[in-house]
Symmetry: C4
């Protein structure tokens, strides 16, 4: 039974992207679909006030929810651009990369929940920790994916000079920073939030993970 099985899943273990263009574009389309749905579901975290008496005041009290919406939209948008760029650099793919990508997407699809929690309880440590943990998992899964692709030589020639940077220790720096922000959140939730935003936009760190920042 093992011999036919080795060749049956040919479509997914196809070495070249060009040979399996349909399969590759289905993976890309599925990923984009999950991103687009997750980013649009963020709107469901904004609650329409049920009390009609002072709508303006209620909306002002929802400020944290609007902040979490904007933050998570920016985060998911940046991650999508990074994923976009990473997949643009692929020459080949295999079944294991597809599985790593699914694990990555499982944490991407979780962001609307973490964002909802953050919007409702931004002053509580546990909400900020959970949001940071979610993004730690996302960036870790992304780092694993890029490291795997570079080690298995799945990337196009022009992207190979970046292998040491993408597959080595620097790729795991961002996940580490998110992880390190968790104890900070225990002391001050807002401090962790500020630290994390600063890290996300800081030049030397943001530079580490391929495509986290756009070309000037």
């Amino acid at each position: 039974v093992s011999e036919p099985r080795a060749s049956l899943p040919r479509a997914l273990s196809a070495p070249s992207r060009e040979d399996a263009e349909t399969e590759f574009s289905r993976i890309v389309a599925f990923t984009d679909g999950v991103f687009a749905i997750a980013i649009t579901l963020l709107v469901l975290t904004l609650e329409v006030p049920t009390d009609v008496s002072d709508l303006g005041r209620q909306l002002r009290e929802q400020w944290d929810e609007f902040f979490a919406y904007g933050l998570s939209f920016a985060v998911l948008g940046s991650l999508w651009i990074a994923h976009h760029r990473f997949f643009g650099s692929l020459a080949r793919f295999d079944g294991r990369l597809v599985v790593l990508n699914l694990v990555y997407l499982a944490f991407i699809a979780l962001v609307p929940f973490s964002s909802d929690l953050l919007g409702n309880y931004s002053g509580q440590s546990v909400a900020v920790i959970l949001y940071a943990a979610n993004l730690t998992a996302v960036t870790l899964a992304f780092a694993l994916q890029t490291a795997y692709a570079h080690r298995r030589d799945l990337v196009r020639d022009w992207a190979k000079p970046y292998t040491p940077r993408l597959a080595g220790p620097p790729a795991f720096l961002i996940p580490f920073v998110f992880l390190a922000s968790i104890p900070v959140a225990l002391v001050s939730p807002r401090a962790a939030l500020v630290l994390w935003i600063a890290t996300f936009f800081a030049d030397p760190l943001g530079d580490r993970i391929a495509g986290m920042r756009l070309p000037k």
Copy 2:
């Protein structure tokens, strides 16, 4: 570190749409996905009555919700056609346009929330103002996108004669009208709504933003 980084994000800064067809179509597909999801999520703003005694009367009282549904479907549909036409005129794209497009989508994805608010509190100034503010932001982000594309010479040759109209002051006329309708809503919410609808369908104004109206 800065030198390799300059060439790494090649996929997104690719000058020609044909050279980066996969990347371009991913951006288009992502945008269409957000539009399709946002427009379909509008249905969630319609509440199924929980009281079984007089379903007919309850549905009639939901008239404002049905109105907001139809209005927002028309608005998002028109905006999608306009975006569709704008991207059809692009010869090139760059990273900054992708970011501007994401900012635009952040406000597009917000429409189901604003629409829900409008459907529930159409008689209150603050709900109408928030809806107008959302559309001000949407049209402003779209005007910025088109102006940027024309200034950076990203459009196809046949679209270039329209540069002064698309990248100049007229492009910002519609956002200005939405902005101006906000004080009107403070006095009369319904007047702002009527004014805004009239503006949206009026010939000379609708003509200003490319593709807001369909060819006869």
Copy 3:
């Protein structure tokens, strides 16, 4: 100003599908997106019981909701196949067809709401009437679309022999049956439901609208 405007929206008024393949596939992808989202949102009409004491009995009481889910999935699936087949017969498209398609989609996206209502209140006339009215609107919008395409000569040569059937009175037979079922629902909601299902699957009627039934 009117002269440049006449040629600007070229992308949408492009006579040939091959000349504007990207634009055409965006319309198709957007339509498929709305269908896929609407059909998947149907699951949200199924309520998870909140009472833990007798889960089995509660789920049996939800039978009408499961019935509405299955019915609406079959309805949206059939409509998607019909739309799929109709668009497969198009040689050209224009802006007005895009607008007609958006109107059609506005009623497609409404089905999860009507289905939710039907699942919760299947014994009440008003719920059945609203569901029938929704499908009347859907099939009417589809009949308008096909009639328009045939009259404007937008279909491929092999589809032209069907013009009389698709663009003439027979195309409006199904919408008429849905419309006629509304007074029946006033007397007996369940009778209207049965009548409507029978109509949907009946050979001579189902045959009238292109693609409503699959080839044997």
Copy 4:
């Protein structure tokens, strides 16, 4: 009337995938859309606690919900890969396969509901039974689809040697195991869950349905 009707739906009964590439890719895109939406809607099964006093404890009590989220994400991801591989092996398709695929999708789109139920009532037999029944239906519908495709000779040449395995009794082994786990759940819900997970990952069984497991 029957003669023209026989040729009208040509687009769907087109024997070759290459001749009807647009139609085929619409079916694939629609399927991927339903999968992507269903997998992302899983996040809505995670409830944001409404009590602010002890957020940490409440989240720990939600452990079953997080477990159901991860399980269902893995299940839908595996099923998507299997579907992906099956459609990659198709050389042709016909209308009946499209209908079988829609029936399959109706059960796929139901998973977020079953998963929500499982997350809330994982200790109750009825919730585990319903989840098992849902997956029985999914795998049965998939087995029917693959069996139909192999019997009607719709698969590519390289996939034909697998016909006996894919279209014969082994294809129905997995659905049978799910079915058999239902009486187990009556005695012990958790035992059924463990049995089912073990079955899903077990080598000799997982090997039976094409593509349920990825190549090493």
